[in-house]
Symmetry: C2
Subunit: 200 residues, 2 copies
């Protein structure tokens, strides 16, 4: 046979870095952050435990690169949902932000878990600052009174707080429940948009 045996594992993988990240992302979503270890990623990719270290340097750096992916996904979602929202940018922003958090809860959590990842990792720094710039941009596309920066802080805080509390299940427990019309996370996600219209 002059063609290589397709069963034979080649010594060089070809795209191991990506394969390891894919495995990490899947394990994060399905089994949680604690399941994402150097050794588990290596097992999932079929390589030795030293291979991920070779590509990422350490677990903290691997998790940072994974979180960078998360910020990239957030940006993609914001851009897709808000491309034609016009004046209502800051309102739609809250909805899109919360929707992202609910669709990838463990990734969203990881993105803020600076105790467990290397917050100075280069890819993460780049992806995060890009995402935060986008947040600021979208929050300022609305016409309204007041300091644009204040509006940005308010939109982001509201979105982040609502997303976080929803993921903890606390809002449903404390303020929702049967008969209240607020029973599922989806009810609250839909509500996110309305929140921006509440006047104090």
């Amino acid at each position: 046979m002059d063609h290589p045996d397709p069963q034979a594992k080649p010594y060089h993988h070809g795209d191991l870095r990506r394969a390891i990240l894919d495995a990490a992302e899947r394990m994060l979503a399905e089994e949680g952050l604690e399941a994402v270890t150097i050794r588990a990623c290596a097992r999932a990719a079929g390589v030795s435990p030293a291979a991920p270290i070779h590509h990422f340097g350490s677990l903290r750096d691997l998790l940072a690169v994974l979180a960078a992916r998360g910020f990239g996904q957030l940006v993609a979602r914001l851009d897709a949902d808000l491309s034609q929202s016009g004046h209502q940018g800051d309102r739609a922003l809250v909805g899109a932000y919360v929707a992202f958090a609910l669709s990838a809860p463990r990734m969203f959590d990881l993105m803020w878990r600076e105790d467990v990842l290397n917050p100075a990792q280069a890819e993460l720094v780049a992806a995060r600052s890009l995402a935060l710039g986008r947040l600021q941009f979208h929050s300022q596309t609305a016409i309204g009174e007041g300091d644009a920066r204040l509006r940005a802080i308010r939109s982001w805080s509201l979105a982040h707080g609502l997303a976080t509390l929803l993921l903890h299940g606390r809002i449903v427990t404390a303020l929702g429940g049967p008969g209240t019309g607020l029973e599922t996370k989806e009810d609250f996600a839909a509500l996110a948009y309305d929140l921006m219209f509440v006047r104090g």
Copy 2:
């Protein structure tokens, strides 16, 4: 000598449960969550590692009881700051909530770290639901338009999001900085109150 030697460590401590919690709280504040281990608490209290287990059952339960303390402290702060705030309850609430988070950042973080504590621990369940009830109460003391429950969700989300983002240092990085008038966490804490007046 017919009085007991004050140097001699008595076999029974007298108030070991409280002493362990005190040690845990101090280590949490000074060294971070990772420093709070069964063995470290035991060392700090001068007992064997099995003693904390005897009182709390497990590390997850110990941390839950510690978080229950945190919710108690939050309630105390809210009640103190808001006792005579009149109509502006929901606005002062955001300020008080953020001030608490900034004054005890690691405790605030622990209170929401359900991956690391036992969220069903009895003391924690009681303290948390008391605190959430207080939040709801204070957010509804203001006169204003709209659904009271929506207003409560908005106030709490805004407070929680702002507190969380401030603790991550992200708002200062993204939107503040030298020359912006928003440089320190204190600047932002003062701002929390103002945020409630922004109109969209």
